[in-house]
């Protein structure tokens, strides 16, 4: 009987952990929505389509080794990537294959700070960050 309870507890805990991660990610996106609304009164929500365009666009202002997000993350967000400067393997960015993605606010901000400068040559706006996360959440 104890074993049954134990098994039940494990089965119950796994989806609960995913849900907690989802809630944390949603809270981060909601936070960016507040910022985006303050920046532009006409803000009408994030768009996965715009997020995908951001992901695939070849920018000109950043490091020449990282002209786009895809330089490290590949064209497929569900695939593992590789840091184009260091060769370090990178876990997939798509939430469907990597549920831990975008669940720690400080980590998300740190990564955007580094990568936007490196790829776009400037900081990303709250609208861009929210679009990107919205795209990855659906991937």
């Amino acid at each position: 009987m104890n074993r049954v309870l134990f098994l039940a507890a494990i089965l119950a805990a796994a989806p609960a952990a995913v849900m907690a991660a989802d809630a944390r990610r949603d809270a981060i996106i909601a936070d960016y929505a507040v910022q985006a609304g303050k920046a532009a009164p006409g803000f009408a929500g994030f768009s996965a389509r715009r997020g995908e365009a951001l992901f695939r666009t070849r920018w000109a202002g950043g490091d020449e080794r990282t002209p786009s997000c895809t330089a490290c993350h590949t064209e497929n967000p569900r695939a593992p990537g590789r840091n184009a400067k260091t060769g370090r393997p990178i876990d997939p960015v798509a939430v469907s294959v990597n549920p831990a993605r975008f669940t720690d606010r400080d980590e998300v901000e740190k990564q955007f700070r580094r990568d936007c400068k490196s790829v776009l040559g400037r900081a990303c706006t709250p609208l861009e960050k929210g679009d990107y996360l919205t795209f990855m959440r659906e991937q």
């Binding site: 840091n83 400067k85 260091t86 060769g87 370090r88 400080d106 580094r114």
Partner: protein, 157 residues
Amino acid sequence: MTMRRVIVLAAALLAATPAIAGDDWVPPVKDPMVRKECGACHMAFQPAFLPARSWDRMMNELADHFGEDATLSADKARAIRNYLTANAGDVVAAGRASKYMRAVAPGGTPQRITLNPDFERKHRKIPDRVWKDPRVVTRSNCPACHRGAEQGWYDDD
């Protein structure tokens, strides 16, 4: 001391310092936060490869870390600086570190481990096609070839 005790002690010493078995070893990074933060974009290089003054300079210049903005919160940066300088090559002098330190100019603050003459000497026979392999990308990608690099082992040539 009995003979048996001597043997036990010798075995313990050998186990504690793998450097005795070969000098292609440096003490691994043990601090989880240092492993995570310094290992986010590249392998967390062992502090023994550079002198403490190099790590101090590196931590002062994180805003332009080989062209990257690698700045961290003040408390994390402080903890990382403390760890790197306390375990630097000129402080611990264990394993390969002493050979690397011998090649560092007095007072010099080198930043690239891969430019140390000992690194050059140990890799001089590596053909160009290996360096150009898409899985390697750059000379600082130690684990691409050294499978135990994260644990401080470089003895697989």
